[in-house]
């Protein structure tokens, strides 16, 4: 099982959890397993073509999966997937 860190904007879709354990041997499998268990995350993570949404960054440990093998990147037990959406809060 890999650990998936859930950013604040997605927490409502996973029942308020900060992190989840999810199974799968690749980034795509792990994220689809998250989406299967928490259907509200499906449209937020995945584009209609099944790829990752462009505005969602996913890191395997500290590396952007886009510079690895994307959704095909292998994930082992003990790995952490970090989901990072853009945030813009600050001034007001």
């Amino acid at each position: 099982m890999a650990t998936v860190r859930i950013p604040p904007v997605l927490r409502a879709a996973v029942g308020g959890e900060k992190q989840l354990s999810a199974s799968g041997s690749s980034v795509g499998e792990v994220l689809r397993s998250v989406a299967d268990s928490h259907p509200d995350t499906q449209s937020q993570l995945f584009a209609s073509d099944g790829g990752l949404n462009r505005y969602v960054n996913v890191y395997l440990n500290d590396e952007d999966v886009r510079v690895l093998d994307g959704l095909d990147t292998s994930v082992g037990d003990g790995d952490t997937l970090v989901i990072l959406p853009a945030m813009a809060g600050g001034a007001r």
């Binding site: 904007v9 500290d62 970090v82 853009a86 945030m87 813009a88 809060g89 600050g90 007001r92």
Partner: protein, 393 residues
């Protein structure tokens, strides 16, 4: 009877290698470390260009900061060539430096020969006191403090992030602070916007911030921009600033800022906060990724928490704004490892930080191109950009 001071000096001179200013002149910038051991007032009146200043009275405690490697070639000088001989003896016989010379005739002879003299800009007595804790740090020192005083830093927003950043940058002696904000101080701001105060509710934030900054440090010049940054004014505001502190509250302006700062080559120290969590990174054009490399497109409105009022723990922008100020000071000083190509996430409730790598995107629509190829019309442009977060703030 003990020998006289003059006799001891003669004995020491017989053991120390002395070198003529003509030879030292050849060695400047040529591998040798030239060390001025005179008093601060003498150094301030003029010194050999490229020399480092380690007053003889602080030699033992400070020489390692200036010359860490004891095998380096070191040339010491003073005013006439005597104090530097005593200092050379200390370096060789007490501290184990292996290759030390003293310059004959000192700075007086150097000047008589007509060689170049550097006259450092000096701090006033009040500045030396105000910044004394900086001056004691080898990584800052007199040169670093001058860099801070010469620096021009633009703060986008005198709000949650800008307030603490502005306060500490002013305290540190950053000489010119620009503040862009078109808001007025509101009671609900004061839970986190510590540069303002209860009595200034209703006052424009730029004026309130200026009052606090000037009271804290009269060295700091404040340039106020009471406007909302947009495509129509960004190229009037941004040029001329060394570093931008981004505490913007909406995506369209973040992309606009990114594109303009890449074109101008201006580093942006960026932070964002939401709830109990913050993000921080430094976007240094062409040295590292830009904001579009990190987030090629903004999220849809339902996932863009900037579009509306959200809760934020009051201390969190303090933490993130001070991390921004720290990165700004590091960039000005050229010290340490800036947060370029890295993004830190801070979770206040968990008291944890997570760091991820941010890569330059070779196909980035902005920073993969030459800065001059980026046109005014393209700055901040995005499909459905305004509609995406209409009136976002």
């Amino acid at each position: 009877m003990s020998p006289s001071g003059a006799e001891v000096l003669r004995q020491i001179k017989s053991r120390i290698d002395e070198v003529d200013p003509a030879v030292v002149h050849e060695q400047v910038g040529n591998g040798a470390v030239i060390v001025d051991v005179r008093e601060p007032e003498e150094w301030s009146a003029g010194h050999i260009p490229g020399a480092v200043h380690v007053p003889k009275s602080y030699l033992e405690s400070r020489i390692e900061g200036a010359v860490p490697d004891r095998s380096d070639h070191v040339v010491l000088y003073c005013a006439s060539g005597n104090r530097s001989v005593w200092a050379a003896r200390t370096l060789i016989e007490d501290l184990g430096y292996e290759n030390v010379e003293s310059m004959t005739g000192g700075f007086t002879l150097w000047k008589d020969r007509g060689y170049e003299v550097a006259t450092p800009r000096t701090l006033t007595a009040e500045q030396r006191e105000r910044y004394s804790r900086h001056l004691l740090l080898p990584e800052v020192g007199m040169d670093g403090q001058q860099k801070l005083l010469d620096a021009k830093v633009l703060l986008l927003g005198a709000g949650g992030l800008g307030s603490p950043a502005a306060l500490y940058l002013a305290a540190a002696g950053v000489g010119t602070l620009g503040i862009v904000d078109n808001d007025e101080v509101d009671l609900s701001n004061l839970q986190r916007q510590v540069i303002h105060s209860t009595e200034r509710i209703g006052v424009p934030k730029v004026d309130s911030a200026e009052q606090t900054i000037t009271a804290l440090n009269p060295d700091v010049k404040v340039e106020k921009y009471s406007l909302r940054l947009g495509p129509e004014n960004i190229m009037d505001v941004l040029p001329g600033w060394d570093i931008v502190v981004d505490g913007l509250d909406n995506f369209p302006t973040r992309y606009l800022l990114n594109d303009a700062s890449v074109r101008l080559g201006t580093p942006v120290v960026s932070a964002a906060i939401l709830g109990f969590e913050g993000q921080l990174s430094v976007f240094k054009p062409y040295d590292g990724p830009c904001y579009r490399c990190l987030f090629p497109v903004p999220p849809p409105a339902e996932l863009a928490p900037s579009c509306g009022a959200n809760g934020v723990l009051g201390v969190l922008p303090g933490t993130m704004g001070l991390l921004q100020a720290t990165e700004v000071v590091k960039l000005i000083l050229g010290e340490g490892d800036p947060l370029v190509g890295r993004l830190v996430m801070y979770d206040a409730l968990a008291a944890t930080t997570t760091e991820v790598k941010v890569r330059r995107d070779p196909d980035c629509p902005i920073c993969s191109r030459h800065p001059e190829a980026i046109s005014d019309e393209e700055l901040g442009v995005f499909p459905d950009y305004e509609a995406f977060c209409a009136g976002a703030h």
